[in-house]
């Protein structure tokens, strides 16, 4: 079996690559035990934490968890529920009982149609991966304006920054409202210049958020921010 590449601290592994012996170790996500050896099942970085070996994937689909705040799009409408595209392997189901309006049976289309975007929360995910969403809660609503952008799910933490520092910097710089959904969808609302700048900033996080030069790149971009007056 081939071994993973040893970097200074990070080790990149590909599916099937041996990470190490499984004796005395617990197997975390992105890995599995096979013949006394832990092998990677995903392309990513090996992580050892509390005697557990896992692989942080470089790319990953959004796997919904109860309580996640997400930006979802209506994919199908039935008489009493909406199927929502949550940017994951499974559609989310929003029953009319969990919508913020009083909806009569058969009147779901009058409230939301295909393509409408909402801010919702994952209410429940059962063992069969049925995802139930809710729009009952503070701030959960239909998003009637603004634009939706995408970031890989693995880049969300980078976009937020420590203690939401990075996302707050972006909000201040472009004077826009920005909501980052756990599902990799980012809603931005403001004037056209602000949205355009926010889009550039989100792309920057995507392309160079992991690099040492990110801070300098973001500062350089901030100089062109609409709130600076020279955009």
């Amino acid at each position: 079996m081939s071994n993973g590449q040893n970097g200074a601290e990070l080790r990149l592994v590909t599916p099937g690559m041996a990470i190490g012996p499984s004796a005395g170790m617990r197997v975390g996500s992105g890995a599995l035990a096979q013949n006394d050896t832990i092998i990677a099942t995903r392309l990513g970085w090996v992580k050892h934490l509390n005697n557990t070996v896992s692989v942080d994937p470089i790319n990953s689909a959004y796997m919904p968890r109860s309580g996640d705040l997400i930006v979802a799009t209506v994919a199908e409408v039935r008489n009493n529920l909406w199927f929502m595209n949550i940017n994951g392997p499974f559609q989310g189901l929003l029953p009319m009982s969990l919508a913020p309006w009083k909806v009569e049976f058969g009147a779901a289309r009058q409230h939301m149609g295909i393509g409408d975007v909402v801010l919702a929360r994952v209410q429940e995910v059962d063992e069969c991966h049925n995802v139930v969403l809710t729009m009952k809660g503070v701030g959960l609503r239909r998003l009637n304006q603004g634009s939706v952008h995408s970031v890989p799910v693995t880049h969300i933490e980078r976009l937020r920054g420590e203690g939401n520092a990075t996302i707050q910097r972006l909000r201040d710089a472009c004077d826009c409202r920005i909501i980052v959904g756990e599902n990799g969808k980012v809603w931005v609302d403001g004037d056209a210049d602000g949205i355009a700048w926010a889009r550039q900033a989100i792309d920057l996080v995507h392309t160079s958020g992991h690099k040492e030069s990110f801070e300098a790149d973001l500062s350089a971009l901030e100089k062109n921010a609409p709130t600076n007056g020279d955009a």
């Binding site: 079996m1 081939s2 590449q5 990070l10 990149l12 590909t14 599916p15 099937g16 690559m17 041996a18 992105g30 599995l32 096979q34 092998i39 099942t41 995903r42 392309l43 990513g44 970085w45 994937p57 470089i58 790319n59 990953s60 689909a61 994919a75 595209n85 994951g88 392997p89 499974f90 559609q91 069969c128 991966h129 693995t154 992991h210 690099k211």
Partner: protein
């Protein structure tokens, strides 16, 4: 596998018409992440073959009747571009492309951890831009790299490779003339780390000894291609955590 005519496929010095040794593979290059719109993608050049694979998903499986309650469905579409060969190919599906799509999907289902995504679909598009024998193997290799690039969990990378027989001699990695006028073709999908075989087809006849030698060649070539696949994936993300 035409198998007719007196076409000379081996030179007097024992080498093949293109100068390769019997157990020598055509040059292989792989590049991962070539299509920005896809969740994962790869391009494989294997000799004069050029295969591009794109992976989308996992996503909700439509129509719903194709959903499986306990696992994801891998939907493979293999297609040869009309300009991929010297004779123009009529665009669209044909019996051959349906067969290759099916065997590729079944091979990939055995390496992808499909039980992680019940009721969903993983879409794999394989486009052959240039063809010179061995396109299904190049397509499988490209699909495997693209799946890894998309972050789909897999037990191993799947490598497509083929051996065959020309003038009663077993050779590795048939080119176009050898494929057309040779006596046998043995494409396989190999999991290099475990040595498992995910798919195997045979066209023509091989004796048990010839089969064993052909498989020996295939495993040796699979190990070489696997190194190139790993390099391609690492190259894409080198320079730090991405």
């Amino acid at each position: 596998m035409g198998g007719y005519g007196d076409v000379k496929l081996l030179r007097d010095d024992g080498l093949r018409l293109d100068g390769r040794k019997l157990d020598e593979m055509r040059p292989v290059t792989i590049e991962a992440g070539i299509l920005p719109a896809a969740d994962g993608s790869a391009m494989v050049t294997h000799g004069l073959n050029v295969a591009v694979a794109a992976v989308y998903g996992p996503m909700e499986a439509h129509p719903r009747k194709i959903q499986r309650q306990d696992r994801a469905v891998i939907d493979v579409r293999y297609n040869m571009a009309p300009f991929s060969t010297s004779d123009r190919i009529r665009p669209g599906f044909n019996r051959r492309s349906r067969e290759i799509s099916k065997v590729t999907a079944e091979a990939l289902e055995s390496v992808v951890l499909v039980e992680r995504y019940p009721r969903s679909k993983i879409r794999v598009e394989i486009e052959i831009l240039a063809a010179e024998a061995g396109t299904r193997c190049a397509g499988i290799t490209a699909a495997s790299v693209a799946l890894a690039d998309a972050g789909i969990p897999m037990r191993d990378l799947l490598v497509g490779v083929a051996s065959g027989k020309v003038e009663d001699i077993v050779v590795l990695d048939l080119d176009k003339a050898e494929d057309n006028y040779g006596q046998a073709d043995l494409p396989v999908g190999i999991l290099p780390n475990t040595g498992e075989i995910a798919f195997l087809q045979m066209d023509g006849d091989l004796s048990p000894d010839e089969y064993n030698l052909a498989m020996e060649y295939n495993f040796k070539a699979a190990a070489e291609i696997h190194e190139i696949m790993v390099d391609a994936l690492k190259r894409r993300y080198e320079g730090g955590e991405n």
